[in-house]
Each structure stands twice: as structure tokens, then as C-alpha cells.
């Protein structure tokens, strides 16, 4: 059975005066099963770039990591980081060349901050790409694009951008059939990328699950 790109992953993005804000839902699910509720779908491509991806998990992670590693190679080999425009075009070309062979079923949003300021690129699995101020992928788009159109203004501050995103998420939680309790929010600005919560406070990156006895807090409880 061929893996199919469903539209259930929610990816949102808004550009403000000097930042780009990305939000992604945290559930990893296929068909009627939810695998986990703490999936991080927003990759840090480098210090000032984020890429939110949606699609079957294999393609999603493989494509994302492939782009991430190639960007790191570029940075090291050229001592200068690639611009957001360059990175987005690189990713798009990879999608385009694979399209007629073995397509990546990955929709993505690439956000970055470089010399030209903040920028957001909407890319879909057929390798179409647009530079936009606000974007959304999947079913979530049907609910949130109208909210963004209504409330987004030019040169928004981070607080204003967050309030728009809050309204989008509220709309999804009210009207979208699939439960979307938690979202991961990441912002990229001149200082780089960071994870934030709904109020704009920086949050520690989620600790990866380890299996060492000394690290696992559960085992400490047993002692």
C-alpha cells in the first residue's frame, strides 16, 4: 500500500515586522491511530531558519533532515550561511527533481531571518513555492486562512502575531473535527530561533526521551 499524504497535519505561519512565527500541531497519527502527542514538526535548519513539515512521518523527517544537513554542509563549506530565499529554492528543487521519480509527500513552510529581514515560503509536495506573509497547510488552512486575512496587518509586532495565531487555534479547536489540543510554536528573528508558548515566553526545547537509567526521572521515583 502506498503511503498517502493526508491533510490532517496543521501547519500555520505568519510574518511580522521583524520575525516569522510558525505553529504546528503535535500529534503524529495515521488512519485511526494516534502514535504520539508530542511530535515536533518544526525543524531548525540552522541558527536562523525554521522548516515546518507535514506528511507521512518517514517522508517528513527524511526530507527535513536531508535539507537540514545539506544546509549545514553549505554553511561549513562556504563560511557564509545560505539566505532564506536560497534555502527555500534548494528545498523546492529537491522536491521538483524527485517529483517525476519518487515524490516526497511533504508539504512545508520555510521561515527565516536574514539580511533582507524575515521571510516565509509556502511549499507543497508538488514543488510549487510562494513567498507569502501568512500561510497554512492541510485541512487547517480551510479554517485559518480567513482568520489570518481578517486580522493580520502589515508590520505586526510579536504580540499581535501571537494574538492572530491564538484566534486561528481557537477556530480550529472549535470547528475542526480532529482534536488539536497542543501546538508547538517557534519564532525566528534576528536573534535566531526559539520555542515560545502562547504568551510569547521562551520555552525550553522538549527533552528527547532517553533510556539511560540515570536520566529517566521515572526510575528515580522507584528508588
Amino acid at each position: 500500500k502506498r503511503r498517502r499524504l493526508t491533510m490532517a497535519d496543521i501547519l500555520l505561519g505568519v510574518t511580522g515586522k521583524d520575525y516569522v512565527l510558525l505553529a504546528a500541531d503535535r500529534s503524529a497519527a495515521r488512519s485511526i491511530i494516534v502514535f504520539k502527542n508530542d511530535e515536533d514538526k518544526i525543524l531548525e535548519l540552522d541558527s536562523h531558519k525554521l522548516m515546518a513539515t507535514s506528511g507521512p512521518q518517514g517522508d517528513r523527517t527524511n526530507f527535513g533532515e536531508y535539507i537540514q544537513r545539506n544546509l549545514q554542509l553549505y554553511n561549513l563549506a562556504n563560511s557564509v550561511p545560505l539566505s532564506t530565499h536560497g534555502a527555500a529554492n534548494f528545498a523546492r528543487r529537491e522536491l521538483a527533481e524527485a517529483l517525476r521519480r519518487s515524490p516526497w509527500q511533504v508539504n512545508s513552510l520555510i521561515a527565516g531571518f536574514d539580511k533582507k529581514g524575515p521571510s516565509l515560503y509556502y511549499m507543497d509536495y508538488m514543488a510549487s513555492m510562494h513567498k507569502v506573509d501568512k500561510a497554512a497547510h492541510g485541512y487547517g488552512a480551510y479554517f485559518t486562512l480567513s482568520v489570518m486575512d481578517r486580522y493580520c496587518v502589515k508590520d505586526m509586532s510579536l504580540e499581535e502575531g501571537l494574538s492572530v495565531l491564538k484566534k486561528c487555534i481557537h477556530e480550529l479547536q472549535t470547528r475542526f473535527l480532529l482534536k488539536c489540543n497542543s501546538f508547538i510554536l517557534k519564532v525566528v528573528d534576528k536573534d535566531g530561533t526559539r520555542i515560545i508558548d502562547m504568551d510569547g515566553n521562551t520555552v525550553e526545547p522538549p527533552k528527547p526521551k532517553t533510556f539511560n537509567k540515570s536520566d529517566d526521572s521515572d526510575s528515580k521515583a522507584d528508588e
Binding site: Y66, R69, L73, L76, A77, S79
Partner: protein, 248 residues
Amino acid sequence: MPRYDRAITVFSPDGHLFQVEYAMEAVKKGASAVAVRGTDAVVLAVEKKQASKLQDSRTVKKICKVDDHVCLASAGLMADARVLVNKARLEAQSHRLNYEDPVSVEYIARYIAHTQQVYTQSGGRRPFGVRTLIGGFDQDGTPRLFQTDPAGTYSAWKANATGRNAKTVVEYLEKHYSEIKEMTETEAVKLAIRALLEVVESGSKHIEVCVMTKAGSRFMGDEELEKLSKEIEKIKEAEKEQGKKDLQ
């Protein structure tokens, strides 16, 4: 003898691979490079040979970053070094993609050495005329220093030098390395520069220094280098005076 240095795949009757040995001669003609491994730092220092006054020496990079935690200095044919560094950089990222872990210094040294060896065994290709000094930190925080040569051998070192007048520099390192009780970052930098200044003119125009710590790598700025060079000159003056006194 001359009949056995044509194709590198041929051994000479007395067991030499002449092309490899000639490659080592090319290394001996290159600008000097020194490396010192301390307890919490690895220092790479190279001689900056300025080809002409018109050349912008900042664009001539002899110390290259292979990954965030590994740097490479080389002596010999710089074009060959560039090819090796590009291969190493690709392998470093490939490793990260496949294993989700950065390479260990030993892994990348082994990879470069393996690449150099392949070019001594396949027909039609000449060996790389480069000897590399690879310094960096493993994930557990241990500093490492390796050296590879045109034959494809690699080994770990506490301190080493290559290129022109390497013998003098290595002798200096052998004499003074064990004198230093604790090889901190500052001590390692000083030793590396002291050793290099045995065969190179002093001043930031003539040397380039890369200091690696657990946090990453940084190239020493001109001001810092000038200051250190002056300090070390004084130490060397004192050494010379001491040497004269010892003779008397």
C-alpha cells in the same frame, strides 16, 4: 630505480612506493603547520606564506572547519588539501544525517586517511601531496589530535608539526611539551606559537591560529595574535639568554 616510480601501483624491488615518497617530499616543501593538544583545548597554528603583496592573504585558508567540532590544518599541495577537506565535510554531514550524531575526530581522521590510501593503490591516480593535522573534540568532551599522511596512515598525537622545517619544530615540541605541568588553553596556544616561531617570522601577518574548545572553534584575531607574539618573543629572548649561559 627510476623505472619503478611511474605508476604508483608498482612496488620497487626493495619495497618502496616511490610516488608516495615523492608526495611526502611535496609535503616537506609546504608551509609549516603545528598542532598541540591540551587538557581542554586543541590548537592549530600555521605559517601564512604570502605569495605577493597584491594577494589578499585573508582568502588563503590553511586551517579549515570540517564540522563545528573538528578543524583541519594541512601542509603540502593546497589544491589537494581542498579536495580532501570537501570530502571530509561531506562525510561529516552524511554521518550526522545517517547516525544523528556528529563524527568523532578519530572517525573523520580514519576517513581522510582511507581516502588518501585509496589513491596509492588504484591505478592512474597520484597520491594526495598533503599531510593533515586534524584537531577536535569528541562528543564526551575529550580533545583529540590526529595526523594523516600521503601513504594513508593516521595516528593520534599530543603535539605534532608538519611542512617545512617540521623536524626543528617537532624537536622543540618534544623538548618543551612535558615541561608544562597543566596544558590549559593558554599554555597550549603559547606552546604552539612558540614552536612555530622557531621557523617562522613573528607577527600576525605570518601566522594564523585556530583554537578549539568544547564550545567550538575560533580563529585568533590579529590584535590578540600580535599581543601574544610579543609576549612569546620575550620568552624566546630569555630562552636564548639561558641557552648562552648554559653553554658558558
